[in-house]
């Protein structure tokens, strides 16, 4: 605050204000009134009123108009822009409502969980997993990620609600192959970490965290399989997820 006051009271700022409002109040006012919308009569009014103001009072009067322009012109423009965007906002809300009906809580929570475990598991595999496990787990893990992203995208597009989640035959094949592969890699990682910890070769927090994460990693394929089967979806045909 004191810095601001110092700036305001400095001779340079005073000189600049005097130059702007004192020597060229008309030019400054022309710039100031641009803050009002084009249709606002205040634009013409203020420019015309300037001639009625005595010359000595003009700098102060113009500075006052800056206050009005900022308070009313800019605020008015923002309010109008907000109002203009109202139909777009309503459409976006309606779109979200439609999607929310489809993306029910079961799916959304499931997807959040799988996404979280997926990202953490990926970091674990890429950073901490030993060589063989890294090679074994990476490919099925990536495949699961791709399928998960695809299902999510399809689910967002898909309407109307109440239909099974869009897990295709290919998705289910990926679950069937990649799911067990991830589970196997996870078991290997778990055993490896336990042996390392037990033998005392590794006792860093990273290993402990990795071991805990290993227990979570199967959540991703299992949760995806669970999500692809809707409650009450007894019949399974083409495009319908199979019972796991």
């Amino acid at each position: 605050m004191s810095g601001l006051l110092t700036q305001l009271l400095s001779w340079k700022a005073l000189l600049a204000a005097a130059a702007v409002f004192g020597f060229a109040p008309g030019a400054a006012l022309r710039l100031i009134v641009l803050a009002f919308p084009r249709s606002d009569p205040r634009r013409r009014e203020l420019l015309a009123e300037l001639r009625a103001v005595p010359r000595l009072e003009r700098p102060v009067w113009v500075a006052e108009q800056l206050e009005v322009a900022l308070a009313e012109g800019v605020a008015g423009r923002l309010a109008r822009a907000w109002r203009r965007a109202a139909p777009g906002r309503r459409a976006a809300r309606a779109w979200r409502r439609e999607k929310d009906e489809f993306l029910d809580a079961r799916y959304t929570v499931g997807y959040s969980l799988t996404s979280f475990v997926y990202v953490v598991g990926f970091v674990y595999i890429a950073v901490l997993a030993p060589g063989i496990a890294k090679a074994v787990a990476c490919i099925p893990w990536l495949a699961l990620g791709l399928v998960m992203a695809r299902i999510h995208e399809q689910a967002k597009k898909r309407l109307p609600p109440g239909e099974p989640l869009p897990a295709s035959e290919l998705d289910r094949k990926v679950f069937i192959v990649a799911g067990p592969a991830v589970c196997a890699a996870t078991v290997y990682l778990l055993v490896h970490d336990v042996i390392e910890l037990a033998s005392g070769h590794a006792s860093s927090p990273g290993y402990w965290a990795g071991t805990c994460l290993c227990l979570l990693m199967p959540v991703t394929p299992l949760e995806m399989i669970r999500m692809s089967v809707r409650p009450g979806a007894a019949a399974s045909g083409p495009g319908q997820p199979a019972e796991s």
Binding site: P41, R44, A48
Partner: protein, 109 residues
């Protein structure tokens, strides 16, 4: 409309000559309200229908080589509303400036 000192002062300024035309700067001087505050008040009065606005004749302004100015006139509705405001201010014992009394050093016209 919320009754502020600025509103009362502008109302008093307008009611000092209820049948005449009022110009922004003169009204600001007469009411003693800064123009930064007065214009929003005038806009509210216009919205309420207490005032009507118009533009000075082009030819008249052209003779003085200046752009035409915007003027404000008090409507019939405004006359009763603004009159009541000024009267209430006088009854409340507001300063002369707010209640429509003459301002020192200012000749209304």
């Amino acid at each position: 409309m919320r009754r502020t000192n600025a509103l009362v002062a502008v109302a008093a300024g307008l009611m000092s000559d209820p049948g005449g035309r009022h110009w922004g700067y003169e009204l600001s001087r007469r009411s003693g309200v800064r123009s930064g505050v007065m214009y929003p008040v005038l806009q509210r009065m216009l919205d309420e229908g207490w005032l009507a606005d118009g533009w000075e004749d082009q030819a008249e302004a052209g003779r003085e080589k200046r752009p035409p100015r915007r003027y404000y006139e008090v409507t019939d509705l405004g006359r009763s509303e603004l009159g009541a405001l000024a009267a209430r201010a006088r009854a409340d014992g507001k300063p002369a400036r707010l209640a429509g009394g003459p301002r020192p050093g200012w000749a209304a016209g």
